[in-house]
Subunit: 327 residues, 2 copies
């Protein structure tokens, strides 16, 4: 099997590529990985098959054709600019998040029509497709009314994915991932950054800022579960999706207070004491406008899973990021 | 006021242009009408202001800029290829229905950013954005899951319309019109053509084919009400829409049997006898997959209206199409 990952230099793309090198998968590894991004992705350590890394701008003319030249069996499309940047750079957001995706889908369609090749396409969408006075729990039947350009672009690509799949040009699945927590690495400028920061920093003895009240609730999953969901999408029976190809992924609905108590349980009062409250009304307003919880019945029935306790999310972070690997 | 109608050679575009020439509007007529379409539109008789007609392909480079050169105050965007053609000609459908609309929106944005000009944009969407195991009554909260390329393109443009409006580039309203009945003119190849045919043809002594059972139910409005809805969208307070800029328009939910009884009431048994039953399982399957009724609470509260009795739809057809006009 040949797997193409577009957006392979991002955090999830990198972890997805690494997952294919895991020894736990022995025997079911893909024979070949093609890793593409605007920055040259790094090849995962320990992968025994062929790896090709490509630096490319998907929306540029001919770029998608080049990526498809070897007719990969599975295509993960994770490449996107994030919500803050899509809001700040309007044209660039549509260029990358809409035009890039459409260029990929069109390139696949043209090969499909010439040769009958029908790859599985797994598209990472986001809970940002939802907005505007959301209910406490969002069901699979809840309307898509994004409140940002990023969510708009994701929702438009979801529609394309469904139409191209309905026409049989490819076999698509759109995966709406929860907010990723604990994100490894440094804090970034995303308003959601603190959800990871208040766990990640105290675990290594550093101070973290908490800009919202402990009662604020949000929908999260670990990087590990996000990768598992993307991997699971490779093998599900897409005839069960009907014409609704986009799925809310399972996650965990927790309050900031519950996050902190889980941290206390695992790392003690000393870690919790490193969280400094610095209320920020702008961040609070953002967080209050985001989804708080989902009822992901469709995805659950298709076998998608996620952590049920925030302790498990912290433990996954400790195992995956803070524990030296025996390679 | 300067009004631009894109898609002015189509049936609704033509009637919308004519409505601006109606003496009922004396004093509130626009000063100027610009009528654009891929075929040169005809100027409405009796309009006292300036009329400019333009033959153009909206998706062609520079075409949108040209249409905006005089900065119209209100832009009606009705141009589209219909669902059957969008399904048969995949690339052309996306070219006209998506790229054309996006080119218009982008051209408006660029002028807005240079000059602050913020026109009202009224976009004709369609109930074809809904599909897939629909409930008997579709509420304003019902999810958009189109089952065709046409509905996909309309749904994508609705998302664009909301995002461009949210950003303040223009002041947009998306109007999801019911199936138009009674369509004037000849039968066409649309699967929905018979809904009009079984009224239009018998009224002028001609036979009409009925391919479905009398129990089939559908959602309709007269050309007159469709034009009224478009006109009403010119003056509503868009702050009441919030970020949800697309509205299901009021219409009438009737069965074919109710249509026929209304025809009998107005034109007698002789007219009804001209309806010939010729069951067609393909058309029946199409009709059964379409919306049957809507609860259009949001549009109703904003003052949009439509006929409440099918007799009124037939009478509107007789008045507008079969009665010589005193001009």
């Amino acid at each position: 099997m040949h797997v193409l990952i577009i957006g392979a230099a991002g955090m999830i793309g990198r972890k997805l590529a690494e997952s294919f090198a895991s020894r736990a998968l022995a025997g079911s590894e893909p024979k070949k990985l093609t890793l593409a991004d605007v920055f040259t992705p790094s090849a995962p350590a320990g992968f025994s098959g062929d790896v090709v890394t490509v630096q490319t701008d998907l929306a540029a003319s001919g770029a998608a054709d080049q990526l498809l030249a070897e007719r990969p069996d599975v295509i993960f499309h994770l490449a996107a600019i994030v919500s803050g940047e899509a809001e700040a750079r309007f044209e660039f957001g549509y260029h990358v998040n809409l035009d890039g995706t459409r260029a990929l889908f069109e390139a696949i369609r043209k090969v499909h029509e010439a040769e009958g090749w029908t790859p599985r396409v797994i598209y990472s969408s986001a809970i940002g497709v939802f907005g505007g006075g959301l209910p406490d729990v969002i069901s699979d039947e809840y309307i898509v009314t994004p409140e940002g350009s990023y969510g708009t672009q994701k929702a438009m690509c979801e529609l394309l994915l469904s139409d191209y799949s309905r026409r049989g040009f490819f076999d698509g699945i759109g995966v709406r991932l929860p907010t990723i927590c604990v994100r490894p690495g440094k804090p970034n400028k995303a308003a959601s950054s603190f959800f990871s920061g208040i766990i990640r920093e105290p675990l290594v003895g550093q101070e973290a800022i908490l800009p919202v009240a402990e009662t604020e609730r949000h929908w999260m999953t670990s990087p590990r579960s996000a990768v598992q969901s993307l991997r699971h999408a490779m093998s599900i029976d897409t005839t069960l999706l009907g014409s609704r190809r986009n799925l809310n992924m399972p996650g965990l609905s927790v309050t900031v207070g519950e996050q902190i108590e889980a941290l206390r349980h695992i790392a003690g009062d000393k870690a919790v004491a490193l969280i400094r409250r610095e209320p920020d009304p702008i961040v609070t307003r953002f967080v209050q406008s985001w989804p708080k919880a989902f009822d992901t019945k469709r995805a659950n029935e298709l076998g998608f899973t996620a952590e049920c306790r925030f302790e498990d999310i912290i433990r996954a972070h400790i195992e995956d990021e803070l524990t030296p690997k025996a390679t």
